[in-house]
Symmetry: C2
Subunit: 281 residues, 2 copies
C-alpha cells in the first residue's frame, strides 16, 4: 500500500513534469524550457537525422556517416546501410543490420550509413493497447493517442506478435543510383510467426516529407537479435507501447559529390510512400 501510494505520487509528479515539458500537451505559447528555467535550452528530445530521405529514395545510397558518430546522437532509431545492404536498427545503444538474406548482425562502428535517424529514447507515455491489432489498426490506435498531427513522436513497441512481416533490400553496386521505387522487385520479405521483439519507429509530421518520411515508419528487431527489417505488416499479441514526444530535429545532409548534383526539385512523394509500404499500393 505504501509502495502503491509512492508510485502514484511518482506517476502524478512525472505527469505534471511532462505536461510542463512537452509542447504536445502544453497550452502555453512560450517554448516550455523557459518556464522551468529562464535560460536553459538544451532541447533534450531531438531527432538527429543524417542524409535526406528524398535523396535516399532517389538513389543516394553511398554511406557517408559512421555509426560510431551516429550513436553519439541517439540510442534508438533506424536507417539504411552503405550501398543499401539491408535495413538498420539502433536499439539500446547498439546498431544492427538485417540483410536481404535475412541474416541479422551487429554493424561495425566504422561502417557508414547513407540515411539514419536516432534519438535518446525517454518514454513520456506508456500504453497497453488491446491484442490482435494489424498494422492499420495499430496505427489508428496510435492516432487516437497522438493527437498533435504536427507532432514528432519516437515510438517503441515491445512484446509478442502473432506475425511480423519485414523486408530488406540487397546491396547495390558501387555508384549505382537506380531510384529505390524502381527496385521494389528486389526486396526480400520475411514472415515471422509468434515472435517476440521490438518495433523501433517514428510518426513524423507532413512538413518533414522529402527530407524524411512522414507518417509511421517502423523497423523490427527480434529479442534474440537474429531477425529484423523494415515493417511491411504485423499482427500484435501482447504488446506495450512507449512514446517519446520529440521537440526538434536536426538534419545533416550528405557530404558527397553525388549529393551536390542531386535534383531535389523532382517530386518523389509517391516514390517515398511506395518504398515505405513495400509496394505500389
Amino acid at each position: 500500500m505504501r509502495i502503491n501510494s509512492l508510485t502514484s505520487v511518482f506517476i502524478l509528479t512525472t505527469g505534471l513534469f511532462l505536461s510542463l515539458a512537452s509542447p504536445a500537451v502544453s497550452s502555453v505559447n512560450i517554448y516550455p524550457a523557459v518556464k522551468s528555467n529562464g535560460v536553459q535550452d538544451t532541447i533534450p528530445n531531438t531527432l538527429f537525422t543524417v542524409g535526406i530521405g528524398g535523396g535516399l529514395i532517389g538513389g543516394l545510397y553511398d554511406g557517408f556517416y559512421p555509426y560510431k558518430l551516429l550513436k553519439k546522437h541517439g540510442d534508438f532509431g533506424l536507417g539504411a546501410p552503405d550501398k543499401l545492404d539491408g535495413e538498420i536498427m539502433v536499439f539500446q545503444g547498439k546498431v544492427y543490420k538485417t540483410q536481404h538474406t535475412g541474416k541479422t548482425i551487429p554493424v561495425d562502428d566504422q561502417d557508414l550509413t547513407s540515411f539514419s535517424m536516432v534519438n535518446f529514447f525517454h518514454a513520456d507515455r506508456t500504453l497497453t493497447p488491446p491484442k490482435g491489432l494489424n498494422k492499420t489498426a495499430l496505427f489508428h490506435y496510435l492516432d487516437s493517442v497522438l493527437t498533435n498531427v504536427n507532432g514528432m513522436y519516437a515510438i517503441h513497441v515491445k512484446g509478442k506478435f502473432k506475425m511480423v512481416k519485414t523486408r530488406a533490400f540487397p546491396p547495390v553496386k558501387a555508384h549505382q543510383h537506380t531510384p529505390l521505387a524502381e527496385m521494389l522487385n528486389l526486396q526480400q520479405f520475411f514472415n515471422h510467426q509468434d515472435c517476440q521483439g521490438d518495433l523501433i519507429g517514428y510518426r513524423l509530421p507532413y512538413f518533414m516529407d522529402n527530407t524524411n518520411i512522414s507518417g509511421y515508419h517502423f523497423h523490427y528487431l527480434s529479442d534474440q537479435k537474429d531477425a529484423g527489417g523494415h515493417i511491411i505488416d504485423l499482427l500484435t499479441d501482447d504488446i506495450v507501447i512507449e512514446i517519446n514526444t520529440l521537440d526538434s530535429y536536426t538534419i545533416l545532409p550528405p557530404a558527397t559529390k553525388d549529393f551536390e548534383h542531386f535534383d531535389f526539385k523532382k517530386n518523389r512523394e509517391e516514390d517515398i510512400k511506395s518504398v515505405e509500404r513495400g509496394g505500389k499500393n
Copy 2:
C-alpha cells in the same frame, strides 16, 4: 614583403583547412569531422531555426521563442517578430527590429519570435565583387561562386550601397491568421539611397522549402542601426561578401496550439515566393 609572405602562408593554410573541413569543397565520401578526429562531431556550422516557414506564411504569427534563447544558438540571422510587427535582424550578437513605420530598435531579450534562423557566423570565404550590381546580378554572382546547388550558405554583405529597398509588415491583431500572401498590400517600403550597412542572409537549398525559404533571403541593417528590413531590391557600390558554408540545420517547431492544428498539406510554394519577393511577380 615579410608580412605579405606570412599572409600568403596564412591564406594557403586556411584554404587547406577549409577544403578539409567543408563538405561543399570536399571530394571525400565520409563526414569530414571523422578525418581530423575519429570521435569528434560537434557540427560547428549549423543553422538553428525556430518555427516552420510554411507556418509563418500561412498565418502562424504568434511568437513562442524568446530572443534570449535564440542568441544562444547564433550571433547572425534574421526572422519575424511576435504578431508580425516588422522584420528581425540578428547581427554581431544583438537583435534589432524594423517596424512598418521604418523605426528600427533593439528588441528585448524576453520578446518572442514566431520564426527565426541564426548561426554563429565564421567566414570561410571572402569575396569582392564588381560595383554596381542590382539584386539579380548580385545573386548571379553568388551563384557562380556557391557551386553546390544543395549547399547551405550564410552570407554577410558589408559596405556601401547606391540603393537599398526594404519592406516591413505592420502588426496583426491577436489571434489573426490571415495568410501573409493576402496581406502584401499592407507592406511598407523604404528606399535608402547612398547608404552603408550590412546584408544578413542565406542561400538555402530546394529541399528546405516549406520548412524554410529556398534560394536567397536577405535582411538589411544600416551601420547606424537606425534602418533595416527585408530586402526587396538593391544596387551595390563598394561591398565585401563573407560566406559561411553550413553543415547542418536544426528546426524547433512552434509549441503552440495553433501549430498543432495547422494544415501543412496545403501547397504554399507560390505564397512563399511572392512573400519573399514582396509581390506576386
